[in-house]
């Protein structure tokens, strides 16, 4: 979609935060903001982000704006786009195939509709990438997909292999009916020489271990260690209480989603993850939850004492790593996709709001002034 704005005079209205001429196609775009959030989330400083062909070419206070570049001035803060780690956006009813308990070749990347308004909601909340996951109601529901919230771009078609360790994966009238049976079957599947499980066993694709209680988490950790898997644990509010074990197993955690009135114990479990050095990101489980709760959840953890840098990483770079795409998204670094959000203020303050969002260097959404 092309947006053409004519700058009528240099003396723009004091209320405008953008002064830009957007020609239809330009290779070079420069964004100058009063504050730029650095990858560690701290000490934002005035700077320029230079974008070339949809990627970040340079970031810093001393970056020169080259000739021919379109300049966007922003009176506020610019940061990398947020990464949400667990969602059913785009097709909530399509994420679960009830006929089979093991369907590793199922790909969520083929199940979503990019025109679904869930993605526009996420974009407006500052989320530029989202991991769409199978619903954890089977032993293996398929592979998750990392997609951009604008343009339906699939960044990673097989981002994680989803494995069910909670009682949701069990049935009372179909295999497996027991945790023992489920684990025995998974053990057997991981012995297969070829296929998706074999790739996961070789650590070519990370696993997403879906749990709901602490005993599920304990079981999942033991399993991952036994097969030397890499990946993340999702869905258990108190996973953080096993933070040391998760750290020894070199796994990550997907936390949340949180709601207004969330129990403090759940938030303290996130602090335990920080203390043990376990990387984590946040889930949103849209469309049952609003994408704004991604930042709201981070704000709740901050209030309980989570470090700012940790919170920022959980929303961006650590989440990108868990999704297996830290080479593409998650920070304002040279060579990464130009997914940038222009905020009215500090993105970790809920009082700030996105005013414009760029995905792959193109303006994907802009707030009405």
């Amino acid at each position: 979609m092309m947006i053409t704005i004519l700058a009528l005079s240099a003396a723009a209205s004091p209320l405008a935060t953008h002064r830009a001429i957007l020609a239809p196609e330009s290779r070079l775009l420069a964004i100058r903001a009063e504050q730029v959030v650095l990858p560690d989330g701290g000490a934002p400083a005035r700077g320029v982000i230079l974008i070339e062909d949809g990627r970040i070419a340079a970031v810093g206070p001393d970056v020169e704006v080259p000739e021919g570049a379109i300049l966007v001035e922003h009176r506020g803060t610019a940061s990398a786009g947020l990464v949400a780690l667990h969602s059913y956006s785009g097709s909530p009813s399509e994420m679960f195939d009830s006929t089979r308990s093991v369907l590793p070749e199922a790909r969520v990347s083929l199940a979503f509709d990019p025109a679904n308004p869930d993605f526009a909601d996420a974009l407006r909340a500052g989320i530029t990438s989202i991991v769409l996951t199978p619903i954890p109601a089977s032993l293996c529901g398929g592979t998750s997909a990392l997609v951009k919230t604008s343009g339906g771009v699939v960044v990673r078609g097989e981002a994680q292999l989803s494995l069910g360790f909670s009682s949701l994966a069990l049935r009372n009238n179909r295999f497996p009916t027991s945790f023992g049976g489920a684990v025995a079957e998974l053990d057997r599947l991981f012995e297969e020489p070829e296929g998706v499980f074999a790739r996961a066993a070789k650590r070519e694709i990370p696993v997403l271990l879906e749990a709901s209680s602490r005993e599920d988490v304990a079981r999942a950790i033991a399993f991952a260690q036994r097969h030397e898997l890499t990946g993340a644990i999702s869905g258990a509010a108190w996973a953080g209480e096993l933070a040391e074990k998760i750290h020894s197993a070199e796994l990550s955690v997907v936390c949340g989603p949180w709601r207004i009135g969330e129990e403090r114990r759940d938030l303290l479990a996130v602090l335990a993850l920080e203390k043990a050095g376990v990387p984590f990101g946040f889930a949103i489980d849209a469309p049952a939850n609003h994408p704004l709760m991604l930042r709201a959840g981070a704000a709740m953890c901050l209030r309980e004492g989570l470090g700012r840098a940790t919170a920022w990483r959980a929303l961006t770079s650590d989440a990108a790593r868990i999704a297996g795409a830290e080479d593409r998204i998650g920070s304002l670094s040279k060579g990464l996709d130009a997914d940038i959000v222009l905020w009215s203020g500090d993105p970790l303050d809920l009082g700030s709001t996105p005013q414009a969002v760029y995905v792959d260097g193109k303006l994907a959404w802009k707030d009405k002034p």
Binding site: I260, E262, A286, A288, A296, L302, D346, G351
Partner: protein, 457 residues
């Protein structure tokens, strides 16, 4: 008012035993110094201090001297504590979900001062010290809500700020046990019920007032007649005896001349619900009506237009923007709980857009903010909910006013709460940064003149 239950009496004992008491009511004197003291929304002083004594603000200013017996606290920013206008703290699930509430049901009767103790501490740490609670959250008529303090172990008089701060009714909400979604006829019936409730109350009030006047008149008349009769008593007696004799002589039965007095005027039948509705119609208790659709809000406004003493508050108000002019003209506040809801499972007409707070504020409609009245733990997140509203267009200073003085005014408690002025109750926050920002950092909280939150506790 019915006598308060034994819970509060126990609380009184506990408080007086637990406090290392200096003052008789168990509170210490406090001397709070701040680099910036926000006295009221829009008014600040630099490098000032507040003296708290006996639960109240005794002095505020720049040149106060610290008394010897006062405990000293200092911080960067000092402001009034927040009020959650739509909470559920201290009210058990049974009362909250009670489907049998009526207008006369009083939420204070269902309060447990020791319930949700861990939630109370978290809520205080977030800076919220007063919460409005309402029984019968699901019911069509919720009864009388109360304004209560969050801090535990307070003596009876301090735990409840206002035992009758609102009467709650709803339009368009399914009663518990009914299927979701009410058809247009049911909604019209709801609206009628709400409007006629006010009518009923007003008429009841009028009837009682009239009765009072009639009774007065009647008593006056009786008294007059009695004096009249007393005056002519002797003469009347003689006349009577004469007539008796005459009757005897004539052989006729004696007709006693009786004075028939008018019947004593009967009062209107006592109805406790109508009593309350009368007080609502008279403006003594604010009337909180939950209505989301614009047609219903409009119907509510036009239906109650003639009751100029009625203090109406629209709760929910998802489509209130369509009626903003009427609301602004009549200064009717809208109570919002701007919690972001996912698309799935939420009804579009009943879900307020996140920008609503900002839009209504700009249209001049008074606002109240709360956390939804269903989850006791949600009051702790009031600052976050306010921040979300700020992020979606509400001005920060306005948000601050709404959760402090604005809420106090709406509940007629602005003589006691909402700002840092001499004589008001000491509900004070000491922060590291601006209120309602991520950097606010609540360090100390004072409620009812007691230090309830300190760093490290």
């Amino acid at each position: 008012m019915r006598a308060l239950t034994g819970w509060f009496q126990l609380g009184l004992c506990a408080a007086s035993l637990a406090a290392p008491a200096i003052a008789a009511d168990g509170s210490t004197s406090l001397f709070i110094q701040g680099k910036r003291i926000i006295l009221r929304p829009g008014e600040e002083i630099q490098d000032g201090a507040i003296l708290v004594r006996d639960g109240r603000i005794a002095a505020v200013g720049r040149d106060l001297r610290q008394p010897e017996d006062a405990k000293r606290i200092e911080g960067a920013v000092v402001c009034a504590a927040y009020i959650d206008a739509w909470g559920a703290l201290g009210l058990g699930q049974d009362s909250l979900r009670d489907p049998t509430t009526s207008a006369a049901t009083r939420t204070v009767d269902g309060l447990d001062p020791w319930a949700d103790e861990h939630l109370r501490r978290e809520t205080l740490r977030a800076g919220v010290t007063v919460v409005r609670v309402q029984a019968g959250a699901d019911a069509r008529v919720g009864g009388i809500g109360a304004l209560v303090r969050v801090a535990p172990d307070l003596p009876a008089g301090d735990a409840v700020v206002q035992p009758a701060c609102s009467l709650s009714m709803s339009i368009g909400q399914a009663a518990p046990g009914e299927a979701e979604g009410r058809d247009p006829f049911e909604r019209i019936a709801d609206l009628d019920r709400v409007v006629s409730a006010v009518e009923t109350g007003k008429n009841y009030l009028i009837a009682r007032t009239e009765h009072r006047y009639e009774l007065e008149e009647w008593e006056k008349k009786i008294a007059e007649k009695e004096t009249e009769l007393d005056k002519d008593a002797k003469k009347a007696k003689k006349d009577r005896e004469k007539e008796q004799k005459e009757a005897e002589e004539k052989g006729k039965p004696f007709q006693e001349k009786k004075y028939k007095e008018d019947k004593r005027p009967q009062p209107p039948r006592y109805d406790e619900d109508s009593e309350i509705l009368g007080r609502v119609a008279d403006g003594a208790i604010p009337f909180f009506v939950q209505a989301n659709r614009s047609s219903e809000i409009r119907g509510l406004l036009t239906g109650t237009a003639e009751h100029d003493r009625l203090r109406l508050v629209v709760v929910g108000g998802a489509e209130a923007l369509a009626c903003s002019r009427m609301l602004a003209e009549r200064r009717i506040p809208v109570l919002l709980a701007p919690v972001p809801r996912g698309r799935l499972g939420s009804n579009e007409e009943e879900t307020a857009p996140l920008s609503l707070a900002g839009d209504l504020a700009r249209a001049g409609v008074p606002l109240l903010l709360g956390t939804g009245g269903e989850d006791a733990g949600a009051s702790r997140d009031l600052p976050l909910v306010a921040a979300l509203a700020i992020g979606n267009g509400l001005e920060r200073s306005k948000a601050f006013e709404i959760v402090t003085l604005g809420a106090a005014r709406a509940f007629d408690a602005s003589d006691r709460l909402g700002s840092l002025e001499v004589g008001k109750a000491a509900e004070i926050l000491v922060l590291e940064g601006d209120p309602l920002t991520a950097g606010a950092g609540v360090r100390y909280v004072v409620s009812a003149g007691r230090l309830v939150v300190e760093p490290g506790n």
